[in-house]
């Protein structure tokens, strides 16, 4: 590395212990001087940037955590939904083996949704009539899955739980509307064609599957409720924002 290249390199990565940098500095006086200059600059920069921390900040944060509502672990169902699970004898199991997120054809997604609905859809719907999740728990569930929901929609959620999807965890939500309960299966990692598709499920429920900008959502409701119109609206009210996910 010549001195010009070294100077350029140090402007991006000033680590003086990088083997290439060490070698360059050893190889010529000019490079050694470039490195010295860089180290002087970095020392001044670090000194200027250094700000004393606010004493006791970590302790205050920990103390505040103690006063907060205990958020549930997101790898387990919510406290209220856990009661639902026990009451109806449903266990959250993986329908499909773990796999890399992939673009599934609608058929595979529909197969998954049909299985899911047959497994516990009606039971969770029934349970929502007598059991409700806390708003904080719903918010925690959604944040943890990277699901961003319009407040107006969020306010309608009466029951929520984690559910398996073809591409990892999703949210199984029951909405309480004036017309009756509606189920949403939000699949953050599952892409589907943009054009909505519909199926009639084994018990006569109407289901619409719509793609979001990222992920997808299935809207399941009694045929008389007009799930298509609901799906169109909900599409504007849900988005997947996985910046909190790693």
């Amino acid at each position: 590395m010549d001195s010009t290249s070294l100077r350029q390199h140090l402007m991006t990565d000033p680590d003086p212990e990088n083997p290439e940098v060490v070698e360059a500095a050893r190889s010529s006086q000019e490079c050694a001087e470039v490195l010295q200059e860089s180290q002087r600059f970095e020392k001044e920069l670090a000194s200027a940037l250094d700000i004393p921390p606010r004493p006791g900040l970590a302790a205050d944060i920990i103390a505040r955590r103690n006063t907060m509502h205990q958020g549930p672990g997101l790898s387990w169902v919510l406290a209220t939904a856990a009661a639902v699970v026990l009451a109806v004898g449903v266990v959250t199991v993986q329908f499909l083996p773990d796999s890399e997120p992939q673009y599934l054809g609608s058929e595979e997604v529909w197969r998954h949704l049909a299985n899911h609905w047959e497994h516990d859809g009606a039971d969770v719907l029934a349970a929502s009539q007598t059991m409700h999740s806390q708003p904080d728990d719903i918010e925690t569930l959604l944040i943890g899955l990277g699901i961003d929901v319009d407040p107006a929609l969020s306010a309608q959620v009466t029951l929520g739980k984690i559910c398996p999807t073809p591409d990892g965890d999703g949210a199984h939500l029951v909405l309480d509307t004036a017309e009756g309960p509606i189920t949403l299966i939000v699949m953050p990692g599952t892409r589907v064609p943009e054009t909505p598709t519909a199926q009639r499920l084994h018990d006569g429920q109407e289901a619409w599957l719509v793609g979001l900008e990222r992920g997808s959502v299935a809207v399941i409701a009694d045929p008389e409720l007009g799930a298509y119109d609901i799906a169109r609206q909900i599409r504007q009210q849900i988005s997947i924002d996985d910046s909190l996910l790693l």
């Binding site: 402007m11 991006t12 600059f41 700000i51 900040l57 944060i61 943890g144």
Partner: protein
């Protein structure tokens, strides 16, 4: 799955490890230590709620930085923080510094603060928080190439401004001699 005690332990460890660094970054982000304090506290509230989504502990710093920046964006939408001199609010002076050193540091800080945020933020993360380019890219939701370009430009601008100020001082001092 972590039980409640594990969860608290994990969270407390994160707070002890990263609260101070986040505060420093927050001050450089918003130039207001009170706001930075609030931001850090709100960040950790959100981190507590979403803790189970942090699958890889080695990415905790990037994760927390991402949350803090989003909190700041929300705050900025509601209230534009006052632009004040960093030294006015920090009032830092080290006992072993000479007046010239303090002046130099104040000038350098002023130059850093005048960098555009898109250059200042990655530079702060690299130098102050010791983050690697890949970590910074994750935290700022940029490509590694973009981060490298930005830290390069940040340094280039700081050096150029420092050179310009030195030249100006030299000219001023020549002018005084001649008069």
């Amino acid at each position: 799955m972590f039980n409640r005690k594990d969860r608290k332990g994990r969270f407390d460890a994160l707070a002890r490890l990263y609260a101070d660094d986040l505060f420093r970054f927050g001050v450089w982000l918003c130039r207001d230590p009170t706001l930075a304090d609030d931001l850090v506290q709100e960040t950790f509230i959100r981190a507590w709620k979403g803790l189970d989504s942090l699958k890889d502990p080695s990415k905790a710093k990037s994760w927390l930085i991402t949350i803090l920046r989003r909190e700041y964006a929300r705050t900025f939408e509601r209230k534009v923080p006052p632009l004040v001199s960093l030294d006015d609010v920090i009032g830092l002076e080290q006992d072993d510094e000479t007046p010239d050193e303090r002046l130099e540091k104040a000038r350098f800080r002023d130059q850093i603060m005048r960098l555009e945020p898109k250059y200042r933020e990655p530079l702060v993360l690299q130098v102050l928080m010791g983050m690697a380019i890949s970590e910074i890219a994750e935290a700022l939701e940029l490509t590694e190439s973009a981060v490298m370009t930005r830290v390069f430009r940040a340094r280039a601008q700081l050096k150029e401004r420092a050179d310009n100020e030195d030249r100006q001082q030299e000219m001023d001092s020549h002018g005084q001699h001649e008069s």
